[in-house]
């Protein structure tokens, strides 16, 4: 790590570390919500289903800066929830947690869609078989549906992680760019891009992003092959 941080410089390696932390936390924390939302959208019929579906997809449709502003309006210090949460000691604004929130929300539609596609592909006959064996809906979900959709969950997580690593617009708008606290790789790259002649720094940071992402991808490919084999029992 000293080699890398030496080559990168202290600020850039702090940005890398933060990006990794933000992306991992955003992915892991949002995963259960993503799975639940996907399941609800795929299997339940409830009023407001279309609205939930729309909400989930909004971050994809809106320019990231707008999403960032909406986050600011809701989770900022003077925001609708932000104030209430701050009373409880939960602060997002200008904190790395806010970066994770922004990344999670931007990545959420990708995660939900991937999981939902997997849920739709599960053979309902298997779930029916489980229910005749005494499993209630929750157990059917945990013991049959969930294992069978693992490939989709993995894909969702990889997409979310990759998106979180690249997220810029919503993040900088919501939590700004505080070195060591909210300065992720993309915001660092953005800063360097503004300065004439800073191209070598940009290239360095881009390369490090690419390396991390390709590493994560390769890992996920390897994992997903094993998971797919495991699920299919081959």
């Amino acid at each position: 790590m000293t080699g890398i941080s030496g080559w990168l410089g202290a600020e850039a390696s702090a940005a890398l570390a933060l990006s990794l932390k933000v992306s991992v936390v955003a992915t892991l924390v949002s995963l259960p919500f993503g799975v639940l939302t996907a399941f609800a959208l795929a299997r339940w019929r409830f009023p407001g289903r279309q609205i939930l579906n729309g909400l989930v997809h909004l971050p994809l449709v809106l320019p990231p800066v707008v999403t960032g502003y909406i986050l600011l309006l809701t989770f900022g210090r003077s925001g609708v929830f932000g104030g209430a949460l701050a009373e409880l000691g939960i602060v997002f604004a200008f904190r790395w947690t806010g970066a994770a929130l922004a990344a999670a929300i931007m990545a959420f539609p990708l995660m939900v869609r991937a999981v939902r596609l997997s849920i739709d592909a599960v053979d309902p006959a298997l779930e029916a078989a489980a229910s005749t064996l005494g499993a209630n809906r929750l157990w059917v979900f945990l013991t049959v549906t969930l294992p069978l959709i693992l490939p989709g969950i993995l894909t969702g997580a990889v997409l979310a992680f990759a998106k979180a690593m690249g997220e810029f617009g919503a993040t900088i708008t919501f939590v700004a760019n505080i070195p060591g606290e909210t300065q992720t790789l993309p915001t660092a790259i953005y800063s360097f891009l503004q300065v004439p002649g800073a191209e070598p720094e940009v290239v360095r940071l881009v390369l490090i992003s690419v390396a991390v992402a390709l590493g994560a991808l390769a890992l996920s490919e390897w994992l997903s092959v094993r998971v797919a084999r495991w699920v299919a029992g081959r």
Binding site: Y69, L72, L73, G76, R77, S78, A93, F94, I172, T173, A176, N177, I178, P179, T187, Y190, S191, F192, L193, Q194, V195, P196, G197
Partner: protein, 223 residues
């Protein structure tokens, strides 16, 4: 072909009015293309089809000049601006060192975006940078810093005087001495790819009427 003017997006409010006036006066078609200065400059460096370039600082205009894409002799400074400390309205104006003693301060990126760079220079020159730095919230551009102040997310911001001029929810709390940082100028130049109408538009941009229009939005003419 319309005359395409690449202009910093932070000029948009004033510049839309200027363009409307010139179009009316000259009868030429003008398309303003707004963006971050660095972005516009890089696009020009890769051959963007613009006729006129207005930069938010000298550095990027120099960069474009070095590439040989400027029509020699057409470059000059169009506007200047002033740097101020802004606070959520209503706030009385105070001395600088008093205004900056506490609270977070929103600034555009202090190593990258002109407003942030000027702000850091000014703070350094008055010896307050070390005190202020831990409280700085850096934003992607100066408008984002202004928005944070306007929304009350951050009590103070270092922005251009013109920004405060246009934003009702924000007041000027303190002003930086123009000598405490590099001059804030908006250089203008014609590009080698320019068409025939561009020269007339260049002239119009530097006219007194246009200068007054800019002034109405808080900008000062550079001389």
């Amino acid at each position: 072909d319309p005359v395409r003017i690449a202009a910093p997006v932070s000029l948009k409010g004033a510049f839309d009015a200027v363009v409307a006036k010139i179009v009316k006066d000259l009868g030429v078609e003008i398309v303003p293309v707004y963006g971050g200065t660095s972005l516009l400059a890089r696009q020009i460096l890769t051959g963007a089809p613009y006729d006129i370039f207005i930069s938010a600082n000298a550095a990027w205009m120099d960069e474009v000049a070095d590439s040989g894409r400027l029509v020699p002799g057409t470059r000059h400074d169009l506007l200047t601006n002033r740097l101020v400390v802004a606070g959520n309205a209503p706030s009385p104006e105070r001395p600088l060192d008093d205004a900056l003693t506490e609270g977070q301060i929103a600034m555009a990126l202090t190593d990258a975006i002109p407003a942030g760079i000027y702000g850091k220079q000014a703070l350094l020159s008055i010896g307050m940078w070390d005190d202020v730095e831990p409280r700085v919230i850096e934003t992607a551009d100066v408008r984002a810093a202004l928005a944070l102040v306007a929304r009350g997310e951050v009590p103070l911001g270092i922005v251009y005087a013109t920004d405060v001029f246009a934003e009702e929810r924000v007041d000027i709390v303190a002003r930086f001495d123009v000598m405490s940082h590099d001059p804030i100028v908006y250089p203008l130049a014609m590009l080698t790819s320019a068409g025939t109408d561009a020269l007339r538009v260049m002239a119009a941009l530097s006219s007194d009427e246009v200068g007054e229009l800019f002034a109405a939005h808080g900008f000062q003419r550079a001389d």
